[in-house]
């Protein structure tokens, strides 16, 4: 095993979803897979939590959803970032960088 998979760090799921969607609109399964792949299997997102997060983000106006045909001609719910979502992604990314830098300094000290 290349490494144990763990749950997503508390509070970062939103950031991961926003980041995944910043490139292109995706459907739920795709987002989950992307998080798993890019983190090289370190983060494994439970589908229930994922769907729950979508609903929450959609309600707060960060995501918008629409039903689209997939490559196999099925309809699937695609999620995309709204303008507000873009802003939130930028803000949370800065915030994350600040926090990790602080933690890194603490660990080095």
């Amino acid at each position: 095993m290349p490494g144990e998979s763990t749950d997503v760090i508390q509070g970062t799921l939103d950031l991961l979803i926003l980041k995944s969607l910043s490139l292109e609109p995706m459907h739920g399964f795709g987002i989950g897979r992307r998080i798993e792949q890019i983190s090289r299997g370190v983060f494994k997102v439970n589908p229930g939590s994922l769907l729950l997060a979508f609903r929450r983000l959609e309600r707060s106006g960060v995501l918008k959803a629409e039903w689209r045909a997939t490559e196999n001609n099925r309809t699937a719910k695609y999620y995309a970032l709204t303008a507000k979502g873009q802003k939130q992604l930028a803000a949370e990314t800065r915030n994350w960088a600040r926090r990790t830098a602080a933690i890194a300094r603490l660990l080095e000290a």
């Binding site: 739920g28 399964f29 609903r55 196999n72 719910k77």
Partner: protein
């Protein structure tokens, strides 16, 4: 924006449920399909790919449940479904549900009923503006130990001028008996003389017309304000009563001036009462006939004072302020006279004055007691829930394994108990409403404001609060325990953590027994007090005595003629009544019983104690006719009783008393034994003299006889020194000893009185027995209520104990079977079960006794002749509880002996 969206989506979730559900389903299915396809692309067969995908996703229902749980509507929805589920589950167990509802309805109903009395008497504000800022001010006669005495005009004026803690003071007289003339027949009622500032100070606006103003006072015009009750009753609520003239007369004693014509200027609203609930008329102080004479003399302390605290001042600050003023006045006006009341001041918050501290405490004690009962009921229900939970183990375990979270389960179980509590509370409210109606109607006299008891918003809120609290209270322990149990164990053995719930149930039973012991001890102490009270010899024989209160109509003429005629009329009347068939003896007394605390000051010639040979404390005086003591069977201890001649002489003496000098003649007096013990502990009292008033104007009495002591203030009050004169006037109690039922003679007696003297008003007819009993109605009321609560608590504790052991025996059937198979005999098995039960009961008793030792001190003042740690009660109650516990344990124990070892072992 986000909020709007959230509301919109939530509402859509609630009302377009199917569409939303379908979308969610689509999304999950899509997820599954993609996961499967991905695996097929990776080379798996379609079947194994589908399986792997499903494994990855987990339970579809659980995923959907989790996704749904995000919105607010999900909470609302699941509460709804929890309630539906709860209702179903309760319907499935009608036995449990019925018992639980009954217990809750009784518990909540009783608590709510008692609370509504607390609400009516204590919590609901008095019908005055900012009533919690009002206080009554009394003179405190430190030197003679007389408390709450009235104050003189000059002193009140000084208070008003010097106080910094009271914004305003107003004077009023206490109930002054007047006769309302005109109309069909004269009516006896009470009026109060009030200063012009009284109504504005209380913040009371008349319903009709106006209040008493400074102009009325200046013009000295005789005006009057009517109570709502009198207006309705006597004047049919006619609005044109304002401006009409009424004719008022005194109470029939000639001393209060003649009949006077007064003009009605206003009517007060229905809720207004002041100073007493019986006050029907208010007149300006300037209508008081002795105002001129009293307004400049500090000796005439006839006035009561009510004050409104200045902004920011507290009652204790006011007391300090008034103490300082009192000291200044004492320095400014030193009086060597031992009869002068002095300048001490007591400030009493108006609410305490109206309801009395003791009554307030008694009501809180009752509320506490009924709260304990409810607590026991809750504990019992918790225990029942646990027992039921054991049986429901499988159901709960299935729910857990289907993905119900612990919190979800907890909520589900709590919803169930809250549903129960809600229904129970509603039933309890209906019960309370009925009880309140009965209590308010049959309110014992002497409990101020209890007739205003009703179910209002405060009571409703209280009931709702109590129900919810009860629901949580009896739901939380079972819900916590059951939701924690491991579904694996539950599914395997069919009972979740059986030993765990039994341990908790045992603790609950101990708590129940302890609470029941506390209540039983409280009730026991009151019952013992009541028994002691029953054993008190009243000093007279109230059995078979008809008590008729009559009042002579006011008669005009010179005082001597009026008194003399009235005395003669009374003698004729008693003689005629003695002739009524069935009447054995007849006597008359100014008042057989008394509710007030008499404070009278006398000076005894050569007597013991007190300055100048005087004595005081509580001293009562009454007037009696020659037949009174023999009719009431009060023994004559020494000397002789009054004769009719004494009475005639007394009338003459009273009429001329203004002129009596220090060495003047004396009225013949009979005294009681307490009087003799107080003033002549070691001397013969016959022929001794004492006087009222201060030299040179005094009124003399000479002791001619000594009679036994009578408890005329009710059995619980001690006997006080008394003396009896013989001038009967105004209102009089006629006592008639009868052969049979005294009330059966009432019509004949009424008729006889009418035929002798048409002008005589019959105020009330009853029996001496009832009248004496009425003095302790409040106590009886308390005792019975508390005893009822305690009995209920005992029953609940017994049921709890029984239920637990019953369950324990069922659980240990196999173990008991093995024991029997190995040779244990019935007594051994019984001992085993009894041992477990009685150990719990013993624990409860020990805890309860310890708690009671702390709690009963609160009710010490309610006890009569026994201490709050009365040994008999503290011994008897544990024995009673142990006895009941033994019975409750014995039934399951006997069942245990009937266990068939073969059957028990086979079920293994």
């Amino acid at each position: 924006m986000a909020l709007l969206r959230s509301i919109r989506d939530g509402l859509r979730g609630l009302f377009r449920r199917r569409a939303v559900e379908a979308e969610l389903d689509d999304e999950v299915q899509d997820y599954l399909a993609q996961a499967t396809r991905e695996r097929i692309r990776g080379g798996m067969t379609p079947e194994s790919a589908a399986r792997a995908a499903r494994l990855e996703l987990g339970s579809v229902a659980a995923v959907k449940e989790e996704a749904r749980s995000g919105g607010w509507e999900a909470n609302l929805e699941s509460v709804g479904s929890d309630f539906r589920y709860a209702a179903r589950s309760l319907r499935k167990n009608p036995g449990f549900t019925l018992v639980a509802l009954l217990t809750l309805a009784l518990g909540i109903g009783a608590t709510t009923a008692i609370f509504s009395s607390v609400n009516a008497v204590i919590l609901r504000p008095l019908p005055f503006r900012d009533a919690d800022r009002l206080a009554v001010l009394w003179t405190d006669d430190v030197r003679r130990g007389l408390h709450e005495v009235e104050t003189s005009f000059p002193t009140v004026r000084d208070w008003q001028a010097q106080t910094r803690t009271f914004a305003e003071l107003a004077v009023f007289s206490f109930d002054n008996t007047v006769t309302l003339l005109g109309g069909d027949e004269p009516e006896r009622t009470t009026s109060s003389f009030v200063s012009t500032r009284l109504f504005p100070l209380l913040g009371a606006e008349p319903l009709l017309g106006r209040g008493i103003t400074a102009e009325d006072q200046q013009r000295r015009e005789p005006v009057v304000v009517l109570s709502y009750g009198l207006w309705q009753r006597r004047f049919g609520g006619r609005r044109d009563v304002v401006g009409k003239f009424l004719s008022l007369d005194g109470d029939g004693t000639a001393s209060k001036g003649g009949p006077r014509s007064v003009r009605v200027i206003g009517v007060m609203p229905p809720e207004f009462f002041f100073p007493g609930p019986g006050t029907q008329l208010w007149e300006p102080v300037t209508s008081y006939w002795r105002l001129q004479r009293e307004s400049g003399d500090r000796f005439f302390n006839n006035w009561r004072v009510v004050g409104r605290l200045a902004p920011g001042a507290s009652f204790s600050a006011a007391q300090v302020d008034m103490d300082a003023i009192g000291r200044r006045l004492a320095q400014a006006y030193p009086s060597p006279d031992p009869d002068f009341p002095g300048f001490g001041v007591t400030v009493v918050p108006l609410l305490d004055q109206v309801t009395g501290k003791n009554l307030q405490r008694a009501l809180w004690v009752l509320l506490g007691a009924v709260g304990l009962v409810l607590l026991i009921a809750c504990v019992n229900l918790a225990s029942l829930q646990l027992a039921r939970g054991a049986a429901r183990g499988r159901e709960l375990a299935v729910r857990v394994s289907l993905g119900a979270g612990r919190l979800r389960l907890l909520r589900q179980l709590l919803t169930e108990s809250l549903t129960l509590a809600g229904i129970g509370g509603a039933a309890g409210l209906a019960l309370a409403a009925a009880v309140v109606r009965v209590l308010a109607a049959a309110a014992p006299p002497g409990i101020a404001r209890i007739d205003g008891m009703r179910v209002d918003g405060t009571v409703l809120a209280f009931m709702a609060g109590v129900s919810i609290l009860a629901g949580i209270l009896f739901g939380i322990v079972p819900a916590w325990t059951l939701s924690r149990s491991n579904p694996n164990d539950a599914l395997k053995t069919g009972g979740p953590g059986a030993s765990g719930t039994r341990r908790i149930r045992s603790l609950l039973v101990v708590a129940e027994c302890a609470l029941a012991v506390v209540l039983l001890i409280g009730a026991g102490l009151l019952i013992r007090s009541a028994v002691r009270l029953q054993a008190v010899d009243p000093g007279f024989d109230p059995d078979h005595v008809l008590l008729v209160r009559v009042a002579a109509a006011a008669v005009r003429g010179p005082a001597e003629t009026v008194y003399g005629r009235r005395l003669a009329a009374l003698a004729t009347l008693t003689e005629r009544l003695a002739g009524v068939h069935g009447v054995r003896d007849v006597g008359a007394v100014s008042s057989l019983l008394r509710r007030d605390n008499p404070d009278q000051f006398i000076t005894v010639e050569g007597g013991a104690g007190g300055p100048g040979g005087g004595g005081t404390g509580q001293l009562a005086s009454s007037s009696v006719d020659p037949g009174f003591f023999s009719t009431m069977r009060v023994p004559l201890r020494r000397g002789r009783l009054h004769s009719q001649g004494d009475a005639v002489a007394a009338v003459h003496l009273i009429v001329t008393s203004e002129a009596v000098d220090y060495a003047g003649p004396a009225e013949a007096a009979v005294v009681n034994q307490a009087f003799v013990q107080r003033f002549f502990p070691d001397r013969d009292p016959i022929g001794r003299r004492f006087y009222l008033g201060a030299p040179p104007k005094v009124y003399w009495y000479e002791i001619v006889g000594v009679v036994g002591d009578m408890h005329r203030q009710g059995l619980e009050k001690g006997v006080i020194p008394e003396y009896f004169g013989s001038n009967l006037g105004g209102s009089t109690d006629l006592v008639l000893r009868t052969d049979g039922n005294p009330l059966a003679l009432a019509p004949a007696v009424r008729q006889e009185i009418r035929s002798v003297d048409r002008t005589l008003m019959i105020l009330s007819v009853g029996t001496a027995d009832r009248a004496l009993g009425a003095l302790s109605t409040a106590r009886r009321f308390q005792t019975w209520l508390l005893a009822g609560f305690a009995a209920f608590a005992l029953a609940l504790a017994a049921v709890g104990l029984y239920g637990l052991l019953h369950y324990a025996v069922a659980q240990r059937t196999q173990e008991i079977g093995v024991r029997i198979a190995l040779g244990a005999r019935a007594p051994d098995v019984i001992g085993l079960v009894l041992g477990e039960g009685m150990a719990l009961a013993a624990g409860g008793i020990a805890l309860g006794v310890a708690a009671a030792l702390g709690v009963t001190r609160l009710m010490a003042y309610m006890l009569f002749e026994i201490g709050a740690t009365d040994a008999a009660t503290f011994t008897a109650v544990p024995l009673i509880l142990a006895g009941v516990a033994l019975v409750a344990c014995y039934l399951p124990a006997r069942r245990a002996t009937q266990v068939d070892p073969l059957r028990a072992l086979k079920t293994e």
